[in-house]
């Protein structure tokens, strides 16, 4: 298609190597600390204990269930946020009037961290999944909206000129044929960042009010002094977060043939 020379499989492995090295170093330092300071295994278990707990949780399927729940909540909230924020952002970026109306609400609500919404979410939604989806929605909606608006406003004005010269005879055509495609790289960045925020938010929400999920795995582990479970949760959260981000960056490269 667009002839990307970097699609070579060996190149992908080469790109992953620094992360592999870093992981090895982290585990080595961890083991060193455990060996030297000999802490209570309830406080800091050795890497092997965590690996064992990981294997156990995977075998029983419990880890899979927790991952599925956390992921499911994030993805549904994120999709919902995207479906509302992207069109809204595109329209807001394009219309000063609309922006002026919506902006005050955004600027007032945005600084309230999704974590601060958790108690409200419990009050309003109680036990149900909606509460957690709501918290993640708050965390993902604003980054997507802001990125989208910025994407529209930052479209190079000369592209708008070119669009008007080459056949976009009305505002709608210009919007559809030039503004929206030009804003897309920024939109994708917003989606990527939002997913990261959402991922962090779900863990916090699950720490407080859930029965399943990786955040719950951590909270539960804390409650029964199973630091190995806590660490399994943390490691899986870290790895999944990293993988998603890498996936989004891949999408970004696909979308943006930056001129």
């Amino acid at each position: 298609m667009s002839g990307e020379p970097r699609a070579h499989p060996l190149a992908a492995i080469a790109r992953a190597l620094p992360f592999v090295y870093a992981s090895i170093v982290i585990v080595a330092v961890w083991q060193l600390v455990v060996t030297v300071t000999a802490p209570d295994p309830s406080v800091l278990p050795p890497p092997l204990a965590v690996l064992y707990a990981f294997a156990n949780l995977s075998r029983t399927g419990e880890l899979g269930v927790d991952v599925a729940y956390s992921l499911g909540r994030v993805v549904s909230a994120w999709l919902l946020a995207a479906v509302i924020a992207v069109p809204l952002g595109l329209l807001m970026g394009n219309s000063q009037r609309l922006e002026r109306i919506v902006n005050p609400f955004v600027e007032l609500l945005r600084p309230i961290s999704p974590l601060a919404w958790i108690p409200m979410a419990i009050l309003w939604f109680g036990i149900s999944e909606s509460g957690k989806v709501f918290v993640v929605f708050i965390g993902t909606f604003f980054p997507i909206l802001l990125s989208t608006v910025a994407g529209v406003k930052e479209v190079d004005p000369v592209l708008l000129h070119a669009g008007r010269v080459f056949g976009c005879t009305n505002r709608f055509l210009l919007f559809r044929r030039v503004i929206v495609p030009a804003a897309m790289p920024s939109v994708v960045v917003g989606l990527r960042v939002a997913f990261g925020t959402g991922w962090a938010a779900i863990i916090a929400a699950e720490l407080v009010a859930a029965h399943t999920g990786l955040g719950y795995l951590i909270a539960n582990g804390m409650d029964i002094l199973r630091a190995d479970l806590v660490l399994v949760g943390m490691v899986v959260i870290g790895i999944l977060g990293f993988l998603f981000d890498a996936f989004f960056r891949f999408l970004q490269r696909r979308f943006a043939r930056a001129g």
Binding site: M1, G3, V158, H161, V165, F166, P181, A182
Partner: protein, 265 residues
């Protein structure tokens, strides 16, 4: 579809005045009156800030004149149109489209099957047919401008507006593109209004050269360049003309430096 030659452009008493925030007014351009003949290659040179780009924006239809009129073949300009195609200094290619996609962009009125044909034909004209499926970011500056030229010609315009199109390129690429532009233009000569800083470039390309004064830009002088193309600019004949034009420009430049600051063109 092929309209053949270009259309005449009549500019009469054109001025552009801006209101500043403090309530004052800035005379950016004019009054200007030119009759650009059909299929004429007109080149405008002038000092920075004289309003030549403003003029081009008015001709394109992005700005309305404050006074005076602009007519294409008797019809006043109302809005931008593919009939008055444009090449920009910063190329203005659409990064989400392939090279071919960019050239096809203005061809919406054309049935889909024909679109690709026309676009490829124009890519061939600029020698980039092998890059049809490539992304814009894979091209050098010179190649990008050639794509922009292909795009501008593909819509079969009567008038071609070019705003310092080779200004961002190095000297060798410039020379190459000047030759290419003339070659493509000569097949179906459309009316061209070309803006540049470069006097040698003006003399190489133009049927007529217009020199503008410093802001507010008016026509200081004009020369018809009757020589056949391609032209040997270093030769004596052109050297003389160059000297005269430079002298006028120097005058205007010192005037514009003397006045306080620059207003956006």
């Amino acid at each position: 579809m092929a309209k053949g030659a270009g259309k005449p452009l009549t500019i009469h008493g054109l001025t552009k005045i801006y209101e500043t925030r403090s309530g004052g007014r800035v005379d950016a351009l004019g009054p200007i009156s030119i009759d650009v003949k059909a299929s004429e290659f007109l080149v405008i040179v002038g000092p920075t800030g004289c309003g030549k780009s403003t003029l081009l924006q008015i001709l394109a239809g992005f700005l309305a004149p404050s006074e005076g009129s602009v007519k294409v073949d008797g019809e006043p300009i109302r809005a931008p149109s593919i009939d008055r195609s444009m090449v920009f200094q910063s190329y203005a290619l659409f990064p989400w489209l392939s090279v071919l996609g960019n050239v096809e962009f203005g061809l919406r009125e054309v049935p889909k099957a024909r679109r690709r044909e026309i676009a490829l034909h124009h890519l061939r004209l600029v020698g980039l047919q092998d890059f049809a499926d490539k992304g814009v970011d894979e091209l050098s500056g010179g190649m990008k401008q050639r794509v922009a030229i292909a795009r501008a010609f593909a819509v079969d315009p009567s008038i071609l507006l070019m705003d310092e199109p080779f200004g961002a390129l190095d000297a060798l690429t410039r020379r190459f593109l000047q030759r290419e532009l003339l070659r493509i233009w000569s097949e179906q000569q459309r009316t061209v209004v070309f803006i540049t800083h470069s006097v040698p470039e003006a003399l190489y390309l133009a049927d007529r050269v217009v020199v503008m004064t410093a802001r507010p830009g008016r026509i200081k002088a004009e020369w018809t360049v009757d020589a056949p193309r391609p032209r040997d600019i270093p030769s004596d004949r052109f050297r003389d003309l160059e000297r005269q034009i430079y002298a006028l420009l120097d005058e205007e430049l010192s005037k514009s430096f003397a006045s306080e600051g620059e207003v956006a063109k």
